[in-house]
């Protein structure tokens, strides 16, 4: 069975500093990886995905993520954090049982807190 691990419950970063939110995965076969962000009382918003190709993928709001096959990691990064980036971040891997109707297997989420 596939799984996603987000080892940090919370990450604290000063505004203007670079940030990293960690994610490792376990799948059989090629992974389809996603990052989502959740603001309070809202649904999840898609940030970026890795399917194939360049290991560094760029997404919304200045976020990027680095895919590392040997370390089975897909860490989320941003060069300069904003207070408005404070939210709950989820890493997810696409299930591979239902064809195009696969669900997502999520990590437990990481609270990102950007301090002014």
């Amino acid at each position: 069975a596939q799984s996603v691990a987000q080892p940090e419950d919370q990450v604290n970063v000063a505004e203007g500093n670079p940030l990293t939110v960690k994610c490792t995965y376990s799948v059989s076969g090629n992974p389809y990886l996603f990052w989502y962000v959740q603001y309070p009382n809202r649904g999840l918003q898609f940030l970026l995905k890795y399917i194939t190709g360049d290991n560094l993928v760029k997404g919304s709001y200045g976020f990027e993520a680095e895919f590392n096959k040997s370390q089975t990691s897909f860490h989320l990064k941003k060069p300069s954090a904003l207070v408005s980036d404070s939210a709950l971040y989820f890493c997810a891997v696409r299930d591979l049982r239902g064809g195009g109707a696969d669900g997502l297997t999520f990590g437990k989420g990481t609270h990102l807190i950007i301090q002014p």
Partner: protein, 113 residues
């Protein structure tokens, strides 16, 4: 303009009641999902439908019954509500390829008294 909309946003009810949550998407997607987010924010897939056909049915009690009248709608009916059903339920949709992201509604917060 809301892409995936759920109603109601909040649902407070008593144990033993039956309730429904509605979901509609205007993105033209062919696949829709229900997820449950528990009090610790953990998210788990419940169901997925593709072109009105049930594709994934995770280990969910029979009291939960999804219904998809057409591609744009996926409703969730819950019978005999229990305390443990308290959670936030999210509807999502996507175009039916694995590389396509899922678009989520804002959730329905279900509280069982």
């Amino acid at each position: 303009d809301t892409a995936v909309s759920q109603t109601p946003k909040y649902l407070v009810t008593q144990m033993g009641n039956d309730k429904s949550i509605k979901c509609e998407q205007n993105l033209g997607h062919d696949t829709m999902y229900w997820y449950k987010q528990d009090s610790k924010k953990f998210l788990k897939i419940m169901f997925s439908y593709n072109n009105k056909e049930l594709i994934i049915n995770e280990t969910v009690p029979n009291r939960f019954s999804p219904k998809s009248p057409d591609k744009a709608h996926l409703n969730l009916h819950i019978n005999s509500l229990e305390l443990g059903d308290s959670a936030v339920y999210f509807c999502a949709s996507s175009q039916g390829q694995r590389d396509q992201p899922q678009h989520f509604g804002d959730g329905t917060r279900l509280s069982i008294l």
